[in-house]
Symmetry: none
Subunit: 249 residues, 2 copies
Amino acid sequence: MEISIGQYEMVANFFSLTIAAMGAATAFLWINRSQVADQYKTAVTVSGLVTFIALYHYWRIYASWDEAYQIVDGVLVATGKSFNDAYRYVDWLLTVPLLLVELILVMRLTASETVKKSIRLGGLAAIMIVLGYPGEIAEAAGTRWLWWSLSMIPFLWIVYELYFGLKGAQDAQPEAAKSLVGKARFLVVASWAFYPVVFLFPMLGLDGPTANTFVQIGYSIADIVAKAVFGIVIFAIAVKKTQADRGAA
Amino acid sequence: MEISIGQYEMVANFFSLTIAAMGAATAFLWINRSQVADQYKTAVTVSGLVTFIALYHYWRIYASWDEAYQIVDGVLVATGKSFNDAYRYVDWLLTVPLLLVELILVMRLTASETVKKSIRLGGLAAIMIVLGYPGEIAEAAGTRWLWWSLSMIPFLWIVYELYFGLKGAQDAQPEAAKSLVGKARFLVVASWAFYPVVFLFPMLGLDGPTANTFVQIGYSIADIVAKAVFGIVIFAIAVKKTQADRGAA
């Protein structure tokens, strides 16, 4: 069963929206980097890196989607070039560890804690993504479920670490930044919860093209929240902490 | 024997990953350049130059790979345009001398030592790459071995100089930077050791397409480590030395 023209165009429009959002977030973060104190600049730089890498990949994703179909006499025809889902996973492999690093960096833990947490959470994130990919490209529901379940182990571990492991670090934040850091922790968990749900769409009884449309749009929205919106929150935390540090000095 | 669709796509995905990694490293290095003291800024700028040049070449490499094959009715067909391996060698000709220069620059030797070492190591690197190319494009294993062996002479000379010649310079580094400089020297030697091994893949009894897939993926990973990861380590050294200089002042 083929995807309809309406579905095809809607997905293309969502990809384009994501390109615009990622590009805008990158420019915002890098230009505004000078507004925060030196010790928070790296966190803001890395936030912009995440959206920059995503911008690149959505550019490729859009081009791949564009090349996978053609409209001939008002009918959508597959060109034979398949849509490359791998761009998304390569993107996550780079950006998901980095966005955990932004959160850790903006908290200003001790140097050794920063390195330890970055390596552990970044490593778990990489494992989670590598385990998800074989399921994503599988046709059989059983195979999808298998890899989904395996990938959920590091996923839940990360969520647990972020939610409970960083609780102590949040309490040590300056008063002005405390509630924003809490929001950032919540935003990671909430936006991340989206991904395994989107992954399941093809197994929820939706027909193929409809499920695929939901998957593409779902991941696009999740990426905008988890990368662009999250990056802006990290920037806002860096601004609050800069003000708090200056007030204390 | 032709390459399979799976191999073709895997290589394309690795090229794309390398583009993203090089672009991200370039942005990171150039934006964060303001974080280090003036005397280390050139080292960080050059580190970003190396990844920027690599970004350009991987863009060309990706496009050349894309144009060399077409998928027609689910079958991979060579288009007649051959994949251009020369981009890689032109890239190395520019970036390998430069990445030796980053390491020398961040060490802050005397001006005359800096120039002398840059010319000698940079020159040897250029000779090494020029000698490798005729072997890379040769079909006959005998020709590959011949140029590989010739290329190994400057290669081993550089590795020897880096490992033993820079030992004294490492001991003269500030305490805080000493272990990182040691890691950088080790990273050069370890990541460089990858290249001659990858070069040998076609001579190790692998069939043509499998060997070619390994060669392309192997060089991509080696380039990410030797350029992007190495550049971040050079930046970290510059930050440590900036802090040490400020502490001493």
